[in-house]
Each structure stands twice: as structure tokens, then as C-alpha cells.
Amino acid sequence: MRRVYAALAALVAAILVAIVAFFAVEAWPAIGLNGWHFLTHDVWDVGRQYGNPILRDGRLVLPGAHYGILFLIVGTLLSTAIAVVLAVPIGVLAAIFLAECIPAALRTWVSFFVEMLAAIPSVVFGLWGYIFLIPFLARHVFPWMAAHLGFLPYFGGATGSGYGLLTSGLVLALMIVPLVTSTVRDALVAQPHGLRDAALALGATRFETLRTVQLPGTRRAMTGSAILATGRALGETMAVLMISGNALNYLPTNIYSPISTMASFIVSQLDGALQDPTGMAVRALAEVALVLCLISVVVNSLARGLLYWQDRISSAWPA
């Protein structure tokens, strides 16, 4: 019987390996064709669809085909970075508020209310961004920021339409912040009282105690959840698709510029890629998926490694 369970468990584990292997095989001809240019150039061109396919390096491709995804990598990393930079401090501060300022009886449901942000579907975030957030930011916030914070690098210049890097970062931040809040809050609540009481007895104020005694104890939970949150932001698709402006082939010039991310690019380009008679566009898109998979595996491995180290079994599971 034990063998049966082991086999089923192995099947679950095999799925991840299968997916990564699948994309590696699928993308193989594109990897050979594109080389490192794939990661360092920012022109994605499926070539002339109505031209005759030509042979290049022994592979059939459309004339003019060139696959570079630097703009996708930059868009993905920058939007994620903005999201994490916003989400981690806000998430930690909110976790302190929930753990310290809300009576235990209410804490479950008050925490539940803000942590429900994690359960709201991506496409609903996209809808909200599209209907409410973008008009608000484009009309009121961005022009103000450009005028008053324009002296900061990348804060000045054209504020555009509201679709873009900062908008994506903001919405992603809201989507990932519950991961940080719930993990840090749990860690704070679970701490033994001894150290805290000792610090208070020594005359430290509540906030000093928190800063010097309680928070350092949650450092690993913080780091782990921040990396997990990074992983989630990297792979978010629908919300980003609806609010990023879907930039093609150029790098953002300031924080308001339109961008694209790898995940949203796959959704918007797969249909067009399937039209390439040589099939190379689909393979190049599989290479995008492979890069995304690998980044996601690395980031999540890091986070899991850290969290396991902290607590070998149970509390590694985020709410």
C-alpha cells in the first residue's frame, strides 16, 4: 500500500519536472537559433508572415524573424521589484498592526478581511485597475507625481495613459501583500512572551520592544514570504495583461511607461505565434515560458529553502 501512495506522490512531483522538461524540448530549436541574443536583445519580430520561409542555421524561419525578450525581462523584473518594494514594508507594518493593535478576539476576522486580497482573482484585480485605478492615477496622481517628484530619476517626463509600469507594480503589490502580512503576523503572534516582557520591564517602549526584540525574530519569515511574494508577482498574468499597456520592443523610459511581462506576453502572443508556418514563433514563445519557469523555480526554491530552514515542517505553509 505504501508503494501505491509513493507512486501517486511521485506522479504529483513528476508533473513539475514534466512541465519544465516539456518546455525545454519544445523550445530547443529556438534556443539553438536565438542563443544568448534571446535574453539581451529587445526586438521580438516573428518575421514576415506572408514571405517565404528561409533556412537559417539549418532551421526554417520566416524572413526577418528575430526573437529578443529583454523588454519582457525588464518589464517583468521592474514591475515585480516595485511590487515587492511596496508590499514588504506595508505588509510588515500591517502585520504589526494586526498582531499588536487588534484584540485577539477580532484579529482572525480583521486579518481575514485584508488577507482576502490574496483570494480576489487576478482578472477581478485587472477589472478594478482598468475601471477605477487607471483613470484615477492618470488624471490625478501621475501628473501630480511628475510635477512634484519629477526631480527624482524616472519620476518625471510624460505620464502617459495610466497603463504601465507603476500601475502594474501597485496592483501586483496589493496582490502579494497578504502573503507577507499573514506570514509575519503569524510569526509575531507565535513568539514567546518572555523576551518581549523582559524588554518592556527594562523600560523599552512598546514600539522599541517590537523593533529591537520582536521583529528580528520574524526576519526569516519576512524574507521567506517576500521571496514567495516575488515569485507570485513574476508570474501574474491577467491583471498585468489588462493594465500594463502591453508595450512591445522597447524599454520603459520612466515609471509611467507601458511595459509587458513574460506571462502576459504569452497570453497575448500565442495566437499570433501559432500562425507561423515554420513553427519557430511557438518554439520561441515556449522559450519565454521556459525562462519564466526557471526564474519561478529558482525564486520559489530560495523561498522554500529559507522557510524550511526556519521551521522544518509546518509553519512554512502560508495562509
Partner: protein, 357 residues
Amino acid sequence: MKPFATILQRRGARLAIFCLALACAGALAAQTINLLETGSSLLYPLFNLWLPAYHRIAPEVRITTQSTGSGTGISDAVAGIAQIGASDAYMADAMMRQHPGMLNIPLAISMQMVNYNLPGLNGRNLKLSGPVLAGIYSGSIRYWDDGQIQAMNPGVRLPHHAIIPVHRTDGSGDTFIFTQYLSFSTPSWSNNVSYGTTISWPAVPGELGAEGNPGMVTATQGNPYTIAYIGTSYEQAIRRARLGIAALKNRAGQFVLPTSATAKAAAAQMVAKTPKDERISLIFAPGPTSYPIINYEYAIVNSRQASAAIAAAMRKFFTWAMSSSGGNAPHFLNQVNFVALPAPVVRLSAAQVAQIQ
């Protein structure tokens, strides 16, 4: 053992009910024929007008429509995922060689508008040409008051504001016909960018990508100083959004507005040239009153279908769709500003429809 056993029993019972329901549904399904239409967002509003009417004629056929962009329409039809791939673009030669069984069947003639959102000027029809549009979309013409635009529109006070070009992000037949207009009228565009349903757009600061014609309308409406290419079936939406419609320079050097008269004039020039497989560009037609961006709206169809019943249902539907008393009747086409297929083209299309087996 007890609790789990009861759960098992209950789950077993549920499973049995589920299977029973499945069987019933399956029996019911045997009588209906499901057709999936995906693709062109330009053709989508017309399909949505057709379907309720066609349902009264053939209630046994259920057609689902999906506005996905022509690129998806073509690839879904080739892959056999959709029975009808709606497309503003015909299939490329290389693709036809790879999939010789595919048919490109025109169902109607459509045109494309160039629209803009210029506060205060949307009521006027700005004059634009292929080379100017190519300049805007390649970034060499950056501001609305550029000398080239001003020269075509004497007396119009154009604002000194950056132009925001909007383009489609999905594989799009509208992109195909728009870039054909640019390619046929502007050699440098033809050499550097060319045409297709998916284009590697030259980088223009601030440019926007939008999904489908609906996304183009919304993006243009929501963002002043934008310019976009939008299928004529969205003209009512364009008028409601109070966006500008450009008069475009045709091959004869005249600026013409998209109307059914100018579309018919352009179509008249091209009908005789339409080959048997009907894959032909109608863009940049000669003639002083010809509107430069018109196209056949294609149904991309595999000539070999999964069953004779499906093939028969498709032949019946296409025959109805092309007939002037059916889908090509004015009360359908006028709502989306399409032009009916001329009689010689209907005959060519009918011959292709007969090949669906």
C-alpha cells in the same frame, strides 16, 4: 472505517448520478451540431447579428462566436480547434502549401477606419496618407502639428502634442490590412516592417497596445492624442465615443472617407482580379473615389470536416450567409457598414463552399 466508508458510499452515489446526467446530456447532444467560430473582432459583430436569425432557420446548429483576433481564427481553423476561423486576412502562401486543404471563403466586404482622439478636432475629418501614417507608426512623425500633417490639413489648428499610436497586440487581420496599406503606399515601410497579422512594431515612446477592435476603441476613447486603426463594424461605437474619422489618400491621390459608396467603388476595381482561391488583397485599389483600405472578410475553413453532418451544416450556413436574402441582406450589413459580395465573388465563394466535405 465507518465514516470514510459512508463518505465513499455517498461519493459513489453522487458519481452514479453524475454519470447518468452525462449519459442523458450525451443523448441530447447527438441531435445538435456544435460549430465554433473564433477570430476576427471585425466580423464578430456581424456574426452576432446573424446567429439569432440563423437559429430560427436551423435550430439544430449551435454556433459559438468568439472575438479573438484573426490570427487565432486562422490558427484555430488550421488546427481543427474551430470549424470556422473568421479572418480579415487570407492565409499566407507558405501556410497554404503546408495546409493545402484550407479554404479562404469571403463572406462580405469590410473596410477599416483610421480614428483619432484630438480634443476639439474630432468633428473634422483630418486628411492623412499612407506615408504619414507610416511616419507616425515608425516614430519619425512625433507631434500632431508636424509639418507633413499640417500640409495636408491647411487651416486646421493642430496641437503641439505627442501622438500616441495605438496598435493591436493580438494577431489581427486589422493589423494585416492596415500594414498592407502602409506597405503598398510607402516603400520604406515595406522594406523595414512589411505586413502581417503580427507586426514587430517600431518602438515609439508612449505607444499603446490594445486587444481586439473593442480594445482599440476603448484605448482611443480613454486617451487623448491617440491614433488607431479600427474596423468599420465599430463605426457606431466610434461615433458614440465622438472620435475622429480620417479621410485617407488613395492610389489616385484623392482623400476619401470610408463610406459604402467609396468601398463599393474600390471593390468594383478588384472583383475581376479575384482568383479562384479568392486570396487577394483589395488594399490601395485604383480609381479616384476608391477607399484605400477595404478587404474580404474570410471564413477560413478546412475542406475536410470531422463528419458529413458537420460539413453539411457548414455548407448550409455559408450558403445562407452569402445570399442577399440571408446573411448578406442589407439590414444585416448596414448595421456594421459592410458591403455585400458582388455576384461574381458569390459564385467563386459558392464553388469553394461546395468543397467542404
